[in-house]
Structures are given as C-alpha cells and as structure tokens.
C-alpha cells in the first residue's frame, strides 16, 4: 500500500496542535530528540518499510526544493 497522501485525519487541527504542544517548553535539542523518538515509534507502527521510505523521500524532496540553488545567495533564505 502506498503512502496515504489524501487527508486521513478526523481532526487535523487538533492533532497539529497536539504535536506542537508536545514540543512545548523544550529546547531545540530536546525537540530534535522528541521528533527522533516520534519517527521511530511511528515507523514501527506503520511497519511497511516502503511506506516509510516513500514518506522519507517526500519529506526530503520538500526540503531540497526549498533550499537555494547551488551558487545562489544563501543570505535570502
């Protein structure tokens, strides 16, 4: 089964808030630690390696797309 890309949450705003709330009062390093643990727990729950890899690719692409082109002026980013 491929990665679900259509909306799949009953209360998206509520869950979004819950994610932010989990990071409340954390330092940047602690937030990184929390995100890492979240990824590990969810990846195991999903269980389907292809789905997790598809999500990884998608996430990475969205970062690469936002990054300035090579030789570009980084000061604008």
């Amino acid at each position: 089964m491929p990665l679900t890309r259509e909306p799949n949450l009953e209360d998206p705003d509520g869950l979004y808030a819950a994610i932010l709330e989990a990071h409340c009062d954390l330092s940047e390093a602690e937030s990184v630690a929390l995100n890492a643990r979240l990824v590990l727990l969810l990846a195991n729950h999903i269980g389907d390696e292809a789905v997790v890899r598809e999500a990884l690719t998608l996430a990475r692409q969205s970062i690469d797309a936002a990054a300035p082109q090579e030789g570009g002026d980084r000061s604008f980013s």
Partner: protein
C-alpha cells in the same frame, strides 16, 4: 596448558634454498594466522600439500580475534579442531546492553537448543592458532616456514614466481596458486599495488586484556554512555584463563601514548570494574576502525582471504569469522580445480560469493559503528532516542545496535545455486546458498555427515519413502566426483529442513552450504546441480 605465547618458532633453512632452480610447490599460503592455517588444514584434509610462509617467530602477540561464531566452530569441527577450541574457550550466547546506569536490552543468540555448537566461543586468537598448528603437524602435509617473508610475487606463464627473504638469505619458489592471508597490512596486496578502498573512522578504541577473577557470567556486556566512560561506549567479554577483554571508546582526539600508558589504562579498568579490583595486564592496543575491501579477491593465481581482502570494525565479530569462511569457501574449489574435476573458472565464484559476504559484513559493521559512535548531532539524537525508548519499548530494542554478531553468509545470489524445488516459503533458513543448519541425528550431528565432498541428504521421517531413489544413489556414488547419499529420519532435523511430513532431498556442497533441494530428486537433476555448483554450467 603451558603459556603458548612463549613458544618460539625458529627459522629452519629449507632444502629449497639450496636448489639451483626454484622448486615448484602447487600451493603456497602466505600468513600463518587463523585464515592461512585453516586453508592449509582444509587443503591437507583433501590430500594437498602446502607451504605456509610467515614472517613471525611466535603466535599472535595479543588476543586479537576472540569471538568464534558457531559457523567457524562448525568449520573447525570439520577440520578436527572444533572440540579443542570449545573445551578451552568460554561458551556464551547471551548479550546484555546497558545505557547510562540501567540495562535496556538482553539477547539470546541461539534460542533453539539442539545444536552441537553454541552461538559463540570466546578464545584468544593465539590459542586457535596453536591448535591449528598442532593439527597441521599431524597432517604431515603442511610445511610451515617461520621468519620468512615474500618480498615479490611475479606472474609467469602458468604460475607465480616468489622471492622469499629469510634470516639465512633469500630464495625463490614457483607456485600454481598463492593464498594471500597475510593480514590487514598485507604485504602481498601492496606488492601487487592493489587499491584497498573504503572508510577509516575517526573514533579511537582502546582494547585491553586483563587477567582477574571476576564473578560475572560469561556474557557479552555492552555499555552506551556509562558513568565510567561518559558519552562513549564500552564492552566486556570473557576469554579463557580468567582473561577479560575490555574495550573503551576513547574519542577521535585521544593521544595514543597517553591512552595506552598502563597507569592510565589501569584507571579506566578500576572505574569500570571497581576501585579495589586486582588485575594484571595481558595486552593493550589502540585502534581505529577501517571499513574497506579489495575490489576483487582473485587476482589471477593470487587469492586474497581474510583481513588481507577486507577489513571491518570489530563490533559483530565478523573479521576473524569471515576470514575462516573465506578459507572454507575457497579450498574445496581449489581442490576440485587441482584434481581437474572442475574448470579453473570455479575459482571466480570465490570472488562472487565472498565479496557478497564481505559486503554484508561491511554494511553490518558500518551500521553498528554509526550507532555506537554517532557522527552528527542528529545521528546521536536518533541513537539516544532508541536507547531511551528501549527501556520500555520492545520495538526500539530491536534497533539497538551494539554489533550484529557474525552468522554464516547465505549466498542468495550465487551462480552456483541450483533449483529450490521446495519453494522459498519452506524452511527459508536453508534455501540454496545457505550454510547447513545443524541438528542432532542418530549418531551425532548432521554436520558429521556432510562436507568435504558433495553429499545428498534425504530428510525423511519414513526412510522407506526414499527407497525408489536407491538405484540413483548408487550411481551417484560411482561418479568421478562422487555424491554420497545419507538418509536422516530424526524429527528435529526433518523439521528444520522442511521435510515434515513429505521427505526432502538436499544437495550439500563440500563447504556444507546447500546447493539445491527437491521433493522428488532425479539423478539427472542432481548431476546438473553438481555441474552448476562446480562451475561447469552457468
């Protein structure tokens, strides 16, 4: 047993040195470490004489490789030294992993009983070498030449010319095949100018072996970020003679001379084991991991094996064990080629199978190293996340990587593999390419009945069902390259080989790996599979 490390091997001037023309030896092995000695023993077992050349005058100077995996022990059993290793060594199968002050994880490497050998036996490398040398002497076929060094290696038309330096001057030999088992700093590799590509890790590790009485079970204990080595890792292993292996991660910038000074090491030992512990040092060594291999292990008639061919981080005990498997894979092929029962191209399958094995070992040891010594902040965040979650989450325990311990390589994609008529779902651990899985049989163990030659094993709860094959079995045993047939009806063996209730026939190679398997073997199909497994058909 006397202290084998005191044994001195004098140089004995060979009669070859007095010949006007270089003497011809079909097989020369360079390096009398575990890999070279195993190759020599296996060749002798098949009737081939060899000359083994080593520049040392004693056994391995430190414990070095200490963890011998089940598969290595099975190979050693075939060569007649497995029992001595197991009796002298320390048997273990349990590993414990600690994070900070708490235990996060425990594993059992051999949860199934009913195997002759345990998952691991810990034994100092010098003992393994000693037992092999004693066995080598008994064969009468192994010419061990200590304190000699191959200084050059030149291909001639159909062989190799070796220049050898000795304390009594130089001499030359010609050889058909050279096995280069001369270790991580292989002089042969350098003399042939071969690239040894890969990664060298920055982090340094301090190994020390100490002799002490320690009331702890024989288990592998691994610490991440313990109070006695903050931010780093440590490892504890028991060896024979009340010697314990301690391994401390000491960081990239540690100073070699400072770190290896006995008073500094002693401080580490006491911090780990207790301030009042009494101990004596056996060996101290500082190292950086390397992860690299030769692009090819076969270079014409020079065959690289063990650390000379591939070097990897020690977490997982894959160095010494994979070297022994290299020799196990190579020797039966050389034997068949030398006896003209297989084309010389069979040797190319050594390259294919053992490079696949080296890559598997390299990827496993590299992943372990990345987990043990994270290279970036995010890599550390994931690592620490795994360890923290592992306290309560079974899913995270599976990710804790303190070394994925050596198991036999399954040659899944080998061109030597024949048909899998049982299908991939049946007993997948013993599909073609896999090493045999041990099991108790009426008179001992399955491994006693396979190896050295090709053997067809019927696993059948009712041996009567194999009767229709009896005539074919007779004909198979009369070939130039005979195929022996064995019938096994023991319940555990039949279950492990997917022969319950219907019988199954497995063709085993001389290295005890599965070549092919059927429910209803035909003589022609078995012969075809042997032809494929000996490189006669591809």
């Amino acid at each position: 047993m006397r202290d084998v490390r005191q044994i001195h091997f004098p140089h004995r001037r060979s009669a070859d040195q007095d010949r006007p023309q270089p003497r011809h030896h079909p097989l020369v092995i360079v390096g009398a470490g575990p890999v070279g000695l195993v190759a020599a023993l296996d060749l002798a077992r098949k009737g081939h004489a060899s000359v083994v050349i080593d520049k040392k005058s004693s056994l391995s100077d430190g414990s070095r490789s200490i963890c011998w995996a089940k598969r290595s022990l099975e190979i050693m059993d075939r060569l007649g030294v497995g029992q001595a290793l197991t009796e002298k060594g320390i048997t273990w199968k349990t590993g414990k992993v600690f994070f900070d002050r708490g235990r996060v994880f425990e594993f059992d490497l051999l949860p199934d009983a009913q195997h002759r050998r345990p998952a691991f036996v810990n034994l100092q490398q010098y003992y393994l070498e000693h037992f092999c040398i004693e066995a080598a002497k008994r064969t009468g076929l192994i010419d061990l030449r200590w304190q000699e060094e191959v200084t050059s290696l030149t291909p001639t038309g159909d062989g190799l010319l070796l220049n050898i330096a000795t304390p009594a001057g130089g001499y030359r030999l010609v050889s058909d095949w050279v096995i280069a088992a001369d270790g991580a700093r292989s002089a042969l590799r350098r003399s042939l100018g071969l690239a040894f590509e890969g990664r060298v890790f920055d982090d340094q590790f301090l190994i020390c072996d100490v002799r002490l009485k320690l009331g702890r079970p024989a288990e592998r204990w691994f610490w991440f970020d313990p109070p006695f080595n903050r931010g780093r890792s440590a490892l504890l292993h028991r060896q024979a003679d009340d010697v314990w292996r301690l391994d401390f991660q000491v960081g990239a910038s540690a100073d070699r001379d400072q770190e290896t000074r006995p008073d500094n090491v002693a401080r580490r030992v006491r911090a780990m084991l207790g301030e009042d512990v009494a101990f004596a040092f056996e060996w101290i060594s500082l190292y950086r991991f390397q992860s690299r291999r030769l692009e090819r292990f076969r270079h014409g008639r020079v065959l690289f094996a063990g650390d000379a061919a591939h070097q990897m981080s020690p977490f997982g005990a894959r160095g010494g064990n994979s070297g022994i498997q290299d020799a196990d894979n190579l020797v039966w092929k050389l034997d068949l080629v030398l006896r003209q029962l297989a084309p010389a191209t069979l040797i190319d399958s050594y390259d294919q199978e053992r490079i696949a094995a080296a890559d598997e070992n390299l990827i496993n040891t590299t992943r372990s190293t990345d987990f043990i010594a994270p290279k970036s902040a995010i890599s550390r965040a994931f690592r620490d996340g795994v360890l923290a979650l592992a306290r309560t989450e079974p899913s995270a325990r599976r990710l804790v990587n303190s070394g994925r311990l050596s198991v036999a390589t399954h040659y899944q994609t080998s061109p030597l593999n024949g048909p899998d008529a049982l299908g991939p779902g049946v007993a997948p651990a013993v599909r073609p390419g896999a090493a045999a899985l041990d099991a108790p049989v009426a008179a001992g163990w399955l491994h006693d009945h396979i190896g050295d030659g090709f053997v067809g094993v019927w696993f059948a709860r009712d041996p009567g069902l194999t009767q229709p094959f009896a005539r074919d079995a007779g004909l198979l045993s009369e070939r130039a390259l005979p195929i022996k047939t064995v019938v096994v009806s023991d319940a555990i063996a039949c279950e492990r080989y997917g022969a319950e209730p219907a019988p199954a026939y497995y063709l085993f190679r001389p290295d005890q790996h599965v070549a092919a398997r059927w429910r209803h073997p035909q003589r022609a199909a078995v012969e075809e599979a042997v032809a494929r497994a000996t490189g006669s058909r591809c």
